[in-house]
Symmetry: C2
Subunit: 158 residues, 2 copies
Amino acid sequence: MNEGVEWAMHSCVNLSWASGEAVTAKRLAAFYNLPTAYLNKQLQALTRAGILTSVSGPKGGFQLARDPRNISLLDIVVAIDGPDDAFRCMEILKEGPGADARADYTKVCVISQAMRGAELTYRRELASRSIADISDEVVRLTPAAPDNTRNRFANLKS
Amino acid sequence: MNEGVEWAMHSCVNLSWASGEAVTAKRLAAFYNLPTAYLNKQLQALTRAGILTSVSGPKGGFQLARDPRNISLLDIVVAIDGPDDAFRCMEILKEGPGADARADYTKVCVISQAMRGAELTYRRELASRSIADISDEVVRLTPAAPDNTRNRFANLKS
DNA sequence: GACATCGTACTCGGATACTAGATGTCCGAGTGCTCAGGG
DNA sequence: CCCTGAGCACTCGGACATCTAGTATCCGAGTACGATGTC
């Protein structure tokens, strides 16, 4: 899995604490000491997926496009890592004996079904957790986190 | 995910129908028109993982090392794709404000927890399905499959 | 005729190239602020 | 003093290198069969 997924999730949580202000890729990257240009690339992907909105120019930056409750972890994974399943059925059964060239072995093959089923539970789990859930849990553990984040962003403004 | 996982699973199911005879990588590859040497590499990985046993020389080949009921799909995924989770927590929080260098953010980070939880359900699902389960299901749908496979192997003996 | 030994053919095993995708970087496109100039 | 417009500084956006890991291949190690020669 793409490493940018982790960056994107943390950045989205931080953005949920930015109280509506646009935050630049530069500051988001400085927060965790990440390469700015590469993080920017991931943020672009989130923007294309409709998770973030972006504004160019001075006072520009990124912010969440919708309520954090409506942004699931799956949304982020799909945006960064693509919609394809990890297990790709290449339909090798079509080369085997008694194969039906018209059949869709992605659906018919029992192994493909089992793998798809497992990935489905995985995705359901990720779809059931939103950025807001993550934020709430973090706040429960360390209530000062949002303020710390805002202060950090303020200090990075120099 | 490594493409060899699919090959390995189909080959294990076929081996479960080989009635104890060793099958060469050459024949297993010819079955689905796969590159022999590369499939051999995957079979080696299965052997190292203790899923298959291998014998060199004439009348050599591969066979299942244990009862198909005790070979889960997860075993195969781990053998081919490695034991690492897809999501690797790089502990970027250690670069953030108020970080504790001694803490293990793989365990502490809420995002890491959520991702690990999702992958856990995924692995549980795969661990609950054995090669024997797959075989049974295939036989239920097409009872002639094992015989077809044995015949195919016999015809490939030339 | 029977046995032992050598040779041979066949298969697994790991070391070695090749290639695609992830990682990382750079420059152009777009936008709001600032400041100068004129009314 | 206020308004207008051009310049500028800053940021996003996508095109361009680099590098790891998956893909593919080849040759050596190991083993059983069979042929051959001898007793």
